[in-house]
Amino acid sequence: MRSPKSRLAALTALVALPTAALAYTAVAPYPSTVTATTYYSSGTYHGAVDVANSRCNYWGAETGVSATVYWNVTVRTSGVVCNGNGSGNQNEALLNLGSGWSFRQWHWIKTSDSYDRTCNRCQVGNLGGTGNATGAHSHFQKDQYGTKNTSWYSSYTSKGEALDRGELMGYI
């Protein structure tokens, strides 16, 4: 029979804990597939992580950071949009990381949960395709003064990977 200690130690394999004390863990907001990372299939630069699920306005779009943080929520589109309504019209949850750094989560559909909030993986809307999109997905971008950073995800996720809700995308 396993000792209580070794039994509990076996559980450590079940949870991914952040290894860097100051980094936040970025996680998938719903069961999804990574559809784009640094470059689109066309070769155009993207510099961010897109995760998609075909069930638009069904899944809640949880904030993709596993920590209690303040999200500045901007609603630019009030209606249900699944396949894009033009660049600049995306709904956005923005996490200010200081020193000009930001982490953004785009394209969700507005719900009654879409307001500035301090929370840990809470819903700010539903999975959708507001803004510049050809289908329902979430775009996760880290940038400093507008310049995108790719190192936060490049060693942790790749195009085509299936992610469960809460599964690691990277460290910001």
Binding site: M1, P4, V15, N96, R121, E167
Partner: protein, 332 residues
């Protein structure tokens, strides 16, 4: 099925198995073969989880203990609220209180009712045992407690226990930095109000010396000006440092106040903080002010010279200016 739900189920299952399985030492002692353990249905409970964690906390590994805390916080979302609340109210051992309180606070932060977090706040301010109050206060660190507990922090910084007061100060500092990134006005205002409310000068100085004031209100800026005239040099130094980061509408007045204060001040620590804040408020435009103050205190001539050299580099980021100034002082 979410990962947290799976975790809670897995832990409950393992706990159940441990209670049902026979002890190997007993089997060896009697020499009789025992039938294999039969699985019996058992309700997953907070108590079972707490027992497992209580045993695990005897581990000497800090990382393992941190893991157990995270495990309970992650499991909290799927645990029955009533059982969790009852366990929290029953518990008197500070370490377990801290874990249960963190789990209750996690429920609120994961989008559930604010009542669980407020329950922790109540215990942090009202429990008879100062060690329990401190533990409950620690559990509120890096949560949304500032938004849901009213004037809790202004009360905690006046607590009879120095440990509670200092834990509250640490919460305000870490919330300001890690939850709000230093750019959320209400959070900074809460921290300044708590610093001003505290009668413990060490707590006041610790808060003011370590928070970002980039988004504070006019009223909070006024409180900083008031604290600059206090009796305690440590508080004056911290207030001067905090005034160096105020938002643009407050910068002009802050610079005038700090220049005047530098001439009247006698404490070298306060004067050092003033020089740093003047540099931060003005960047390269502060050089004439610094030159004007250079001969006021001969002890600080090298400090003024270092700031002038650092600001003259034309760097446009405060963190880079600060690093350059430190480098120049190292090279001396």
């Amino acid at each position: 099925m979410t990962r947290t739900f799976l975790l809670a189920r897995a832990l409950c299952l393992l706990t159940s198995l441990s209670l049902l399985a026979p002890s190997p030492s007993f089997a060896e002692a009697t020499g009789t073969p025992l039938p294999p353990p039969s699985l019996q249905p058992e309700t997953c409970s907070v108590e079972g989880l707490m027992d497992s964690i209580r045993r695990g906390l005897q581990s000497k590994s800090p990382a393992y203990r941190r893991y157990l805390r995270e495990l309970l916080k992650e499991s909290a979302v799927t645990l029955p609220e009533e059982q969790l609340r009852a366990a929290f109210e029953r518990e008197t051992e500070p370490l377990m209180v801290e874990h249960l309180a963190a789990a209750l606070a996690a429920k609120t932060d994961r989008g559930e009712s604010v009542a669980t977090l407020q329950l922790v706040g109540k215990r942090a301010s009202q429990d008879a045992d100062p060690a329990v109050r401190a533990a409950a206060t620690r559990a509120l660190r890096r949560t949304s407690a500032e938004e849901h507990t009213g004037d809790l922090y202004s009360r905690l910084v006046r607590d009879a226990s120095p440990e509670v007061r200092m834990e509250a100060a640490t919460n305000l500092i870490e919330d300001n930095q890690f939850v709000y990134a230093g750019f959320h006005g209400p959070a900074s205002d809460t921290a300044v109000a708590a610093a001003a409310a505290s009668s413990d000068s060490k707590v006041t100085a610790r808060i003011l010396g370590n928070i970002s004031t980039a988004a504070i209100s006019k009223e909070s800026a006024e409180q900083l000006h008031t604290l600059l005239r206090g009796d305690d040099a440590e508080v004056r130094a911290a207030a001067a440092k905090a005034l160096g980061g105020v938002p643009a509408p407050e910068m002009s007045r802050a610079r005038q106040t700090l220049v005047a204060l530098y001439r009247d001040e006698s404490d070298v620590g306060v004067r050092t903080s003033i020089l740093q804040s003047l540099a931060r408020l003005g960047f390269a435009s502060a050089v004439p002010e610094l030159r004007g103050l250079r001969n006021v205190d001969p002890r600080l001539v090298p400090e003024v010279d270092a700031w002038i050299r650092a600001l003259s580099t034309g760097l446009q980021e405060w963190s880079l200016i600060l690093r350059e100034k430190q480098r120049l002082q190292q090279a001396r």
